[in-house]
């Protein structure tokens, strides 16, 4: 009976799209590695095995009862969290800690994304009555950002960034007040403010812009903070009627002042230590080369310049499979993982780009169709979270290759080489399909 339901209610387009994407991925992993050593040449075989494993996961997810899943989501969350916590005790490899037992390494961060999606969605859907209240949003944020903190400690900035769009998308769909979301978005931008302006300063003003100099000068910064603190305090007092005799219109003004000034206050407060302690030299370099890749063409800018050159060299119809001039001469680094997109873009050209984006578009079209047809808030939130998770990966990965996003080591869904990631992509697809199959049930 269960099987019959699956067959009848199945979304074949979604499954087919994801399979085509991974086949394209395998083809180009093969193409990217033909001129490399024996060890890398078999990457495509491994990827086939991973994809098959992913499909197996997908199928097993189809039979999962999401109700049970929903009730036990806290356990999943806690297991992932413990995993993340334990990861912190493993030795760091290439500056990053990895959980590995008996040669099998598990990236708990990857599963944590799904766990957070589930748990946050469940939290919102069980509090949907008070969804507009700030406390719900704050509690929800806590659920999300505790694991983010653990991941940041690994440290894996790229993976932790993925959580931000997931949280925003779920909160948005769940109906959290938009000003809170705006607050969050602005807050994150403000945290990045100081690193960005120091980068801009060194890149475009040769460190001689006076305003930026003032902004990073401790004396003036303290003055600004004192000013912000006092004005915020006065505004709060006025808003809460402790200072009396202020009309409601002015109260609204004070409200928005506190809103923006506190973003500035807390954001900047975090921004200085982030700039100084959290961001590493290479991460600042990445910001630098995002603004101008040619500032350091032989070092940190090399990857992005070569990737963009390969993409541009592809032209309209590309150089042909296994014939990419930049690719086959190994000018683009990490061709099978982070920089797989340039391989496709050079060898298939603009047509290849359109094909990939079209397949992703189809995937999202079906994905949102499933989300809209979900019968409860939880499923809608989960699908939205999963979709935004994939979307962020796509935007970030392709975006960095074409120069509209800074470089981070985030793989391209279904296409990039990588065991855990493709399995988790198929897991995501499986979950979407599961929601679709059971759309009449819950």
């Amino acid at each position: 009976m269960n099987l019959r339901k699956i067959v009848v209610n199945f979304d074949y387009t979604l499954l087919l799209t994801s399979i085509i994407l991974s086949v394209v991925g395998i083809a180009f992993i093969y193409s990217a590695n033909i001129n490399k050593n024996e060890h890398l040449k078999i990457e495509y075989l491994k990827q086939i095995i991973f994809a098959l494993a992913g499909l197996a996961v997908l199928i097993s997810v189809l039979f999962m009862n999401m109700r049970t899943m929903k009730s036990s989501v806290e356990i999943f969350y806690i297991i992932c969290f413990i995993g993340l916590f334990l990861t912190l005790f493993f030795p760091s490899v290439k500056g990053q800690r990895r959980f590995s037992l008996f040669g099998v390494s598990i990236q708990f961060a990857e599963f944590m994304k799904i766990a957070v999606t589930f748990y946050l969605s469940k939290f919102y859907s069980s509090n949907y009555v008070n969804i507009k209240s700030l406390t719900v949003y704050l509690k929800g944020s806590l659920i999300a950002f505790i694991p983010v903190g653990a991941i940041m400690l690994q440290p894996d900035l790229g993976s932790s960034l993925v959580f931000i769009p997931i949280i925003l998308a779920i909160s948005f769909v769940a109906g959290i007040r938009k000003r809170y979301l705006l607050y969050t978005v602005l807050f994150f931008f403000t945290v990045g403010f100081i690193p960005i302006i120091t980068t801009v300063n060194s890149l475009f003003f040769k460190n001689e812009n006076e305003i930026i100099y003032l902004m990073t000068n401790m004396k003036y910064v303290i003055l600004v903070f004192i000013f912000l603190f006092i004005t915020i305090a006065i505004s709060i007092l006025a808003y809460l009627d402790i200072i009396k005799g202020i009309s409601n219109k002015f109260k609204l003004l004070f409200y928005w002042f506190v809103f923006f000034a506190s973003i500035a206050f807390f954001g900047l407060l975090l921004s200085y230590p982030v700039n100084k302690f959290v961001l590493k030299g290479y991460q600042k370099d990445r910001l630098l080369i995002f603004f101008n890749p040619y500032s350091d063409p032989m070092n940190s800018g090399y990857n992005i310049i070569q990737a963009m050159t390969a993409i541009g060299n592809g032209g309209f119809s590309g150089k042909g499979w296994q014939k990419g001039e930049m690719i086959q001469n190994l000018f683009v680094p990490e061709q099978s993982t982070d920089f797989i997109f340039p391989v496709i873009a050079e060898e298939l050209g603009f047509l290849g780009t359109v094909l990939i984006v079209f397949l992703y578009g189809l995937f999202f079209f079906r994905g949102f169709y499933i989300a809209i047809n979900c019968k409860d808030l939880w499923s809608s939130c989960v699908t939205a979270g999963l979709l935004s998770y994939l979307l962020f990966h796509i935007l970030q990965n392709i975006g960095m290759c074409i120069g509209i996003m800074p470089v981070t080591g985030i793989p391209l869904p279904f296409i990039s080489y990588g065991g855990t990631f493709i399995v988790s992509c198929f897991l995501t697809t499986g979950l979407l399909l599961n929601f679709h199959i059971n759309r009449f049930q819950y």
Binding site: V173, N313, G315, L330, L395, I402
Partner: protein
Amino acid sequence: MYNSSNNDSFEKDIQFRLIILALFTTFILVIIVLRAGYLQIVKNTNFSERSQRNREVVIRIPPIRGRIFSDDGSILASNKKIYNIIIDPNNLSKDQIKRQKTLLYLSEMTDIDYPDIEKMVQTAKIKKERLTIAENVSFTNYIKILENIDTMPGVEPEELLIRDYPNQQLASHVIGYIGPINFNEFSKLQASGYKKQDWIGKIGIENSYEKELRGKDGFVAYEIDAKMNVSRNNFVRKEAALPGDDLLLSIDLQFQKNVEAILADRAGGIVVMKPSSGEILAMVSYPNFDPNIYILQNPENYTKRIEMSLDTKGTPLINRTIQSEYPPGSTFKMISSFIIAEENVVPLTKSYFCSKSFRLNSQTFGCWAYHGNENFFEALANSCDTYYYNTSLLFGIEKITEYASLFGLGASTGVDIPFERRGFIPSVTALKEKGETWYLGNTLNTVIGQGDVTTTVLQLADYVSVIANRGVSYKPHVLKKIIDPNTGDVKKEIKPEILNKVNISQDTFFVVNQAMGMVISQGTANKAFYNLKRPFAGKTGTSEVGVGQKKQTHSLFVGFGPLDIPIEEQVVVAVLIEFENGQPLKYAGNVAAMVFSSWIHKEDFPATAKRMWYPVKDSYN
């Protein structure tokens, strides 16, 4: 799950927000496609170029420089293959004994002491340079080293084409030399494809016809990968270098040799030119130099080059026929003769009395001898200053300035050898610009070619050409033909080009020519030309430089002939000998007569000297 009352609206809200999210997703995907399209379609050419640059290592093939020939087809400048031995200090054997063996062997082959080689290798290693241990190794030694090259890692043979000037000093000022491009030249010529390691013509023909001689670069492009592995066997693109054009000069090599022998070691310059076309047959300047010392960059040549540039007294690099300005002295008097005859200043038969001095107000102006009564013809023949002092007071400085510029004095001739000087013809306006006043004394100085008047030897030759041609002169040039090096076809032939056209009556030319003929037949140059026994026209000159104790004289002669053959076969000769100071062996008239003799009889210096009863000496200083 939802409350039944607001279930629908709540669900609608969620759906609305999901649609917004979907639209946002679409927006992002569209941005990605647009940006990728911009890179792949709009910017495709840029990126293809860059990708090609990334993937190719282009090795430049320098063109072979064109050769320079004299009129009779002898080589004046060509390219010679030399063999160099290069040491790459980093590739030398790490085994000390082997390394020492290699260096000892090289020391034996190149005649450099072993400790010196060791030192040079050490410095090269610190500078991270390849060391050219021996330049221009003899072919036999080169072959010997080649045979053993396999046992000597780090030692590399090199075959190079270098510029070669087989005649050494001969016509060195005409040919010039080439040298490594310097910073100024490079910044000017970078746009036309010059590279920092290029060589370029510095002076002479090598400089003025640089464009024709240079040829066009070729290249071979090999494909490389990111690890800089070059696949040398299959090149991607290739373009052969185009050799530079060969130049055929109007210089007659044998005649140039003879003239150089005639001038011998007197400091000065001689120009022999065909008045009917402007072709320069010989252009001699002494002291001269050997252009070959600028080619090989070895210490020996370096010392020689330094000596050359430090020789401020001899200035061997200065081409005395075009780069030095001298007062023309009496050779300038034809200008006045033309004025007198053309403007009818005085009747040609009118005589003035010369008593070896001429008083103007309180100043005394001397003549070089006591002449007595001299008319127009006698005055030029005997070069009587007094006659010209008297007449110049009648026609004035303005006429002199006007006529001198008519004959092209004070203006560059446009000869195809670079860095020509213009000379100077004084005028009232020029002096006024300097804030000085013109006195009649200045006119008297100017009329005898002294004072501020300066000319180059080539200008004098050009000025005499006008007289020889009776009204026109052709632009002097040394290039005759540009020849395609592959086919031997003539690409361009230089046609005579009118330089100065003088609108003076033929009668005037006739009388001036007659007077110039009298210079040879009975005047100041009579003795010098006596043994030639052919009619010529000319004018001697002695120009004074310096004042008082330091006063010295240059000896000049300008002339053309022989007059008994058609103008097409006549030649113009202009001779200047520096610091004659009355020494008979430095008298320009004799030198000019021998040049004519050598030209007429096609004979070398000793033969001509014998014919002219002229002493043959090792040195004429």
